[in-house]
């Protein structure tokens, strides 16, 4: 069967790709567009490693079909820094060791940014609940939470 021809906006730029119906948005980002910043963890919506923004909504890209992205706007980890200037979340994760192996980090950063965009001053409890669907097997989460808190503080200063 012919592949589906998809046109979508990713991090502000228009992209076209061909995909099978079964392919997830995650598959399309990584295997068709070679944007490998978005990671595959569980591939079943449990771990949050593949988080992206789809039309402004935080979603697991493993639970979105590539065909669904047609005409939509996608934001991935590749769009988070501005050139060499890291987003405050990225900077604080580096400074405060908010990561170890790093596989879960892009998904956590996307989720944390979605939180701070709607709530610039979340409590620790709010951060922990918001990130409850992002599994990290290295950090024990504490440094992740501290990094998000520090980034939030930095961003509130402007």
């Amino acid at each position: 069967m012919a592949k589906n021809h998809i046109t979508t906006t990713i991090n502000g730029d228009e992209y076209e790709f061909l995909c099978d119906t079964e392919q997830t948005l995650l598959d399309c980002l990584r295997d068709e567009l070679f944007m490998t910043g978005t990671k595959e963890g569980c591939a079943s919506g449990d771990c949050g490693a593949c988080n992206v923004m789809l039309d402004g909504q935080l979603v697991c890209s493993c639970l979105v079909l590539g065909v669904e992205a047609d005409g939509k706007s996608v934001e991935t980890i590749e769009g988070m820094a501005h050139g060499d200037k890291l987003h405050p979340l990225q900077q604080k994760f580096l400074e405060l060791n908010g990561l170890q192996c790093g596989i879960c980090t892009p998904g956590i950063l996307i989720a944390a940014k979605a939180l701070l965009d709607r709530n610039p001053d979340p409590t620790e409890t709010e951060i922990r609940y918001w990130l409850a669907g992002n599994l990290c097997r290295c950090t024990g989460y504490d440094k992740v939470v501290r990094s998000v808190q520090a980034a939030a503080e930095e961003m509130r200063k402007g």
Binding site: S44, G45, A111
Partner: protein, 289 residues
């Protein structure tokens, strides 16, 4: 599976025509948080996926005749973020908030949760307790169905071929009404209910319970609307005696299985404990409304 087709119709009529006309297996998809896991796990092998979430009637939350209409594919984050609906139906919001992670809530919907027909679905006892009605559209037109008549067994619904759930209607709230949903899970987040209880109450001006609906989840093949449990509350001030009777009635209604999440005995006991706790939250909310 290499010839799987995907359609995203913009109207109810087009969706139903696609579903009813498919010679192979057609699957309805909204947020995809269940269907895509089944698809990629090779548990289902459909020939056609009909994505219904772009149909206007399936989206949004609007006031209607003093109540609320919620599109069946409205994602859970949009529901949680809707302040007026949340204030009117806090028990429904209890259930919606427990659906997966934030990123799953960004896609998952009440309609999908109901149509997936898991006995442990968190929103189902909550919307059954609320007395919600589902609007169903199919090849023979539209019908209104009490929510408790949709899911009939694990993975099975009463929907005919080609029928889809369009929206839910939550009826007008009398004064002094309140609802709640609680579940037991080994951890606080990202888990599936071992037992779930949804309760909705209406009090009169003197604080006597005038109406009640009690629903148990994950203790039978489908969520159970337990009239005997509701009867223990009606006509009482939801005092300790009534709560003890409620707890006993909740346990008595359970028909659970043993599985990896809990034993029969555990579920029967927890249903009593949760029914009491849920009723107290519903009572508190009813008094405040």
């Amino acid at each position: 599976m290499d010839d799987l087709r995907y359609e995203a119709p913009g109207t109810l009529e087009a969706a139903v025509a696609l579903l009813a006309g498919e010679k192979g297996e057609a699957r309805v998809m909204a947020g995809g948080t269940d269907v895509l896991v089944l698809l990629h796990g090779d548990i289902i092998e459909p020939d056609l996926l009909v994505d219904i979430k772009n149909i206007p009637e399936l989206n949004g939350i609007t006031q209607e005749n003093g109540g609320w209409r919620v599109g069946a594919a409205t994602n859970c984050m949009d529901i949680v973020d809707h302040q007026e609906f949340s204030a009117a139906w806090p028990g429904v919001i209890d259930g919606v908030k427990l659906i997966g992670s934030i990123q799953v809530k960004g896609r998952a919907s009440i309609g999908g949760n109901l149509a997936n027909a898991s006995p442990g679905a968190d929103t189902v006892p909550a919307i059954m307790a609320a007395g919600a009605t589902a609007t169903v559209f199919g090849p023979k037109g539209q019908r209104e169905v009490p929510v408790e008549d949709i899911a009939i067994a694990p993975g099975k619904t009463s929907l005919a071929k080609g029928e889809i759930i369009v929206s839910f209607f939550f009826p007008p709230r009398p004064p002094h009404s309140g609802g709640a949903y609680l579940r037991f899970t080994p951890r606080t987040e990202m888990d599936i209910a071992v037992v779930g209880v949804g309760i909705d109450l209406t009090l009169d001006d003197g604080g006597t319970c005038q109406a009640a609906r009690v629903v148990l989840g994950a203790v039978a093949a489908r969520a159970l609307l337990v009239d005997e449990a509701a009867a223990t509350l009606i006509g009482t001030a939801v005092d300790d005696d009534a709560l003890a009777n409620l707890a006993a009635a909740a346990s008595a209604a359970c028909r659970p299985i043993d599985d990896k999440r809990g034993t029969k005995e555990f579920r029967v006991k927890v249903a009593a404990v949760l029914a009491r706790r849920t009723a107290l939250i519903a009572l508190q909310r009813a008094k405040q409304s």
